[in-house]
């Protein structure tokens, strides 16, 4: 097992290098005038003469050949400098670091209701197959599955902010922002809720949480649909297996049969999905970030791609491939923990 993990980790830099090379080359194929777009704001195009556009190109080294540019880029990455992010308006590493807490905090809080409730509903549906509970859960899930995310997000905002005034958009309220920025408040993790607790400020914690509930509600409902379906079908399959029948024949109580024999096996495909779900959540959910004004790394990556800001794109690529590779490794390891039949050599 240890050897397996080490082998996988050793491959990591190689894979990342390969990925950056491919993406960088693809971008360079566009030509330097298209890359120039990153340095020119669409709103100021009308103010730029050809001469000035050429000056900008020269200044940012876009006239170098693509190979020189790649060598320059990889050289500075090796020194820990990921370059300047045009869309983030700060150095790439900082831009990612400053936007990560918002995404991370949301992922951290959203994952429990998503997986907990989603799996529970899925199991309930399977156990009450074709009864009213099952039908109800399935309707609930189909509605969630077919709801466009931005419509649902806006609905949540309308009901819980515009009407009820409970869950405002943004990360914190104005008053709390002042507390956080004051010198007495230590930002250990940059996660508002956790820093609030660490500083013993329940009001900060509460304010941070209040701003999280809207996005969590939106994300949860949309992702429950997905998890319910997977859990339900996987559970149904397992329930029809011989070993479940054997367990029942042995005279075990239904509770033990379900929890010990059926559920554990049914959760393997769920673990795969849940793993990628967590990674997806950390990578940010653009629509939720936009509607609830919590700009995280998802909308950052999207903006960078739209403007061909290659330093940011490459930076996000490094970050996301790292996250994916390590994340998948963790998922693989967790298989072994869930299912005793799986062994890695």
């Amino acid at each position: 097992m240890t050897a397996y993990i080490i082998r996988r980790l050793l491959l990591l830099p190689l894979i990342i290098f390969g990925v950056t090379l491919i993406v960088f080359s693809m971008m360079q194929l566009l030509g330097e005038d298209q890359l120039l777009a990153a340095y020119v704001d669409p709103n100021s195009l009308d103010k730029m003469s050809v001469e000035e556009l050429e000056m900008v190109k020269e200044k940012y080294g876009l006239n170098d050949d693509p190979f020189t540019r790649y060598v320059k880029w990889i050289g500075s990455v090796a020194q820990g400098d990921l370059g300047w992010s045009i869309v983030g308006k700060e150095p790439v590493a900082k831009a990612i670091l400053h936007r990560l807490p918002s995404s991370l905090e949301l992922a951290l809080y959203a994952i429990f209701p998503i997986i907990g409730v989603g799996v529970w509903l899925g199991v309930q549906a399977a156990l009450h197959r074709n009864k009213w509970q099952d039908q109800l859960i399935r309707i609930f899930s189909i509605v969630g599955w077919s709801f466009p995310d931005f419509v649902f997000g806006l609905l949540v905002l309308m009901v819980f902010y515009s009407w009820l005034g409970w869950f405002p958009p943004g990360r914190v309220s104005l008053q709390v922002a002042n507390i956080i920025n004051s010198p007495d408040f230590h930002q250990y993790t940059k996660l508002v809720t956790i820093d609030g607790l660490l500083n013993g400020r329940i009001d900060v914690f509460w304010d941070g949480l209040r701003h999280l509930i809207g996005p969590i509600l939106t994300l949860s409902y949309l992702w429950w649909a997905y998890l319910i379906r997977i859990t339900r079908s996987s559970m149904l399959e397992v329930l029809s297996k011989d070993y479940v029948r054997t367990a029942r024949a042995k005279g075990l109580s239904e509770k033990v049969v379900i929890n010990k024999h059926a559920k554990r096996n049914a959760l393997i495909p769920v673990a795969t999905v849940a793993g990628s779900m967590i990674i997806g959540l950390i990578m940010g959910v653009i629509i939720v970030e936009t509607i609830f004004v919590r700009p995280g790394i998802g909308s950052f990556a999207a903006k960078a791609a739209g403007q061909l800001d290659y330093a940011s794109i490459m930076g996000m690529l490094l970050f996301s491939s790292f996250l994916l590779i390590v994340g998948n490794l963790i998922i693989d390891i967790s298989y072994a923990l869930i299912d005793p039949r799986i062994r890695y050599e």
Partner: protein
């Protein structure tokens, strides 16, 4: 369970009531965020708004006026031909605590001239100080006879001692002498009397903001010395220490520009020379989604909100919200013709007049241009796409400027007229064979897309063989096509830098203007050719002449003449002048309109129920 719910409800509702309106904070919810806070690099309104509130200029516009000025850092001023003298106010403090001196003013403008970042706004200062040169590089080349790259290497060091001497002489002769301290005065030496010099440096233009020279030097900006000045030329935006910092003396201090959360936070400067601002905190918050902005406004959390015209009806009728409509803007959106498309353009079909494309010089033909101009349904555009928030104007000169005249004919939608001109073009060949071309817009710009579609529709109605395909492309492709002269015709807008007709007439119709340049060599030839209409003068000559005049009546006469010519020849056509909308909570007081200002003047605001 029920008890828990009730408890939760209670807690939430307490929070709801606790947070009505923030009397000591203005929350301005906008779209877009600053590009840079360096006054000499910033060239967009979002940056300009912040700079406007944290820096002071020499003079300011009086209220809504675009031509009357009031003292600011300058107590008074005199204009004598090429010379402008400002008396500098005493007792003005920068945020650093340093006192503002006349030297700070000299330093500021010289730093601008030396820095002159490509793509920035400093070309305006070059124009008034140097006349024929619009950048440091072109001034060095023209005045010393050596190109910049022959004098300075890639690491910004002079290539030889001789080169160094040339650079030192250039500074002494041409930069140092432009702005000089004279006791309590600062004297500006212009290349020629330019009536719009005051407009260029007045409050509202970030490039006229006065910097704290001591603080600037501490941050590593130009040290004020002539030796080594070249090192400070054309920095990258991100390399400027002023990118996210300010060293001003304005009514507000910058607390933080939080780029991750798209927030700019300002705090009133307690020692401001006009007295501290009434509202202590300002938050400028970028929120991209309209529904979210609307919710914030309706809750009262936002005091000011950016509203696109098509959504205005959603908030009308709310007694807490003030909507001011019909504000004239200082911008126009125009349809422009490229007189000489690059032959490798993928947007001109076969490149020939054979029904499968257009010739590269298609739009050099006056009949073709006029045919297109009569084919656009202007009123439908304004009614359907802008929801009425636009006005028709005769040329690219906006309403409200010197030389604007309602007497001039406005563009008309007239298919019969269009048919007449199209039949004349290319001796009837165009009408028989038809054409094929592509009109581009950058995806996401709905107004431009709709304009292009309207045009393509009526062209097809006139003659089914007239085929204009409307295609949306990503921003990088659009930029590439414009830069390399590949678009046969395109729709763009222009926002005034300073409220003077020259900023529009020169930009659009002079063949060296930011638009005229893109119309190709064929257009330059035309603009330089003597015209009987102007008594033997060329269009370019007329435009230059008007910009050098000081008497408004004389200038107006020439601008009207130029516009008559533009209309007669069909040199591009304005589609509309947008009309602005302002939306804020009723409890925000002190607002006044000024169309050239890049944003809000928070210093004059206060919040009160009545």
């Amino acid at each position: 369970m029920k008890k828990l719910l009730v408890a939760l409800l209670l807690v939430f509702s307490i929070f709801t009531f606790a947070e009505v309106m923030n009397p000591n904070t203005i929350v301005d919810v906008t779209i877009g965020e600053p590009d840079t806070l360096d006054p000499h690099q910033a060239y967009d309104t979002a940056s300009g708004e912040v700079i406007f509130n944290v820096y002071d200029n020499l003079i300011e516009y009086v209220g809504s006026s675009l031509s009357k000025f009031a003292p600011r850092i300058a107590e008074s001023w005199e204009i004598d031909g090429n010379t402008v003298r400002f008396k500098i106010r005493k007792g003005v403090k920068f945020h650093s605590g340093n006192e503002l001196t006349p030297y700070d003013v000299e330093y500021t403008f010289e730093r601008a001239l030396i820095g002159n970042p490509g793509g920035g706004p400093i070309w305006m200062l070059y124009e008034v100080f140097f006349g024929d040169y619009f950048s440091l590089k072109s001034a060095v080349a023209g005045l010393t006879g050596h190109s910049w790259s022959d004098l300075v290497d890639a690491d910004k060091n002079p290539v030889s001692d001789e080169a160094k001497q040339i650079l030192l002489d250039f500074y002494k002769n041409y930069i140092d002498s432009k702005v000089e301290v004279d006791g309590d005065y600062v004297v500006f030496h212009l290349a020629a009397p330019k009536v719009y010099f005051l407009n260029i440096i007045a409050q509202g233009s970030s490039w006229g903001a006065i910097l704290d020279s001591k603080a600037a030097m501490d941050l590593g900006l130009w040290d004020g010395k002539e030796d080594g000045w070249w090192k400070f030329h054309d920095w990258k935006k991100e390399d400027s220490p002023l990118y996210a910092k300010e060293i001003g003396s304005g009514p507000y201090e910058l607390v933080e520009w939080n780029r991750a959360e798209q927030k700019v936070i300002l705090k009133a400067f307690p020692e401001y020379w006009r007295g501290p601002a009434k509202v202590e905190n300002v938050v400028i918050w970028g929120v991209d989604e309209w529904s979210t902005r609307k919710a914030l406004l309706e809750k009262g959390e936002a005091d000011i909100v950016a509203v696109p015209a098509q959504y205005l009806s959603q908030i009308k009728g709310n007694p807490d919200i003030e909507i001011i409509e019909g504000l004239p803007s200082v911008s126009v959106t125009t349809l422009n013709f490229n007189w000489q498309v690059k032959p490798d353009s993928p947007y001109i079909g076969s490149g020939k007049l054979d029904g499968e494309g257009i010739p590269t010089t298609f739009f050099a033909d006056k009949n073709v241009r006029l045919g297109f101009i009569y084919s656009f349904d202007y009123q439908k555009m304004i009614d359907d796409v802008l929801d009425g928030y636009g006005e028709l104007v005769p040329t690219a000169m906006p309403k409200g400027f010197l030389g604007y005249s309602d007497e001039l004919p406005k563009p008309k939608f007239d298919l019969a007229e269009a048919t007449k001109y199209f039949k004349r073009a290319y001796r009837g060949q165009l009408w028989r064979k038809g054409f094929k071309m592509t009109i581009l817009y950058n995806t996401g710009n709905a107004a431009r897309q709709k304009s292009a579609e309207l045009l393509a529709d009526s062209l097809k109605k006139i003659n089914p063989k007239f085929q204009a395909e409307v295609r949306g492309v990503q921003w990088p492709t659009f930029l590439d096509a414009r830069k390399n002269g590949k678009m046969p015709l395109y729709i763009l807008g222009w926002l005034a830098d300073y409220p003077d007709p020259n900023n529009f007439i020169y930009t659009f119709y002079h063949s060296d203007g930011d638009y005229g340049y893109y119309f190709g060599d064929k257009y330059a030839e035309f603009a330089n050719a003597p015209q009987a209409f102007f008594g033997g003068k060329s269009l370019n000559e007329m435009i230059s002449e008007a910009s050098a005049l000081t008497d408004p009546a004389e200038r107006e006469k020439i601008y009207i003449q130029v516009q008559e010519f533009v209309i007669r020849e069909g040199l591009g056509v304005p589609l509309y002048q947008p009309v602005g909308v302002r939306v804020h909570r009723k409890w925000l007081k002190g607002w006044y309109p000024n169309s050239i200002r890049p944003g809000d003047d928070y210093y004059r605001y206060w919040k009160s129920e009545e």
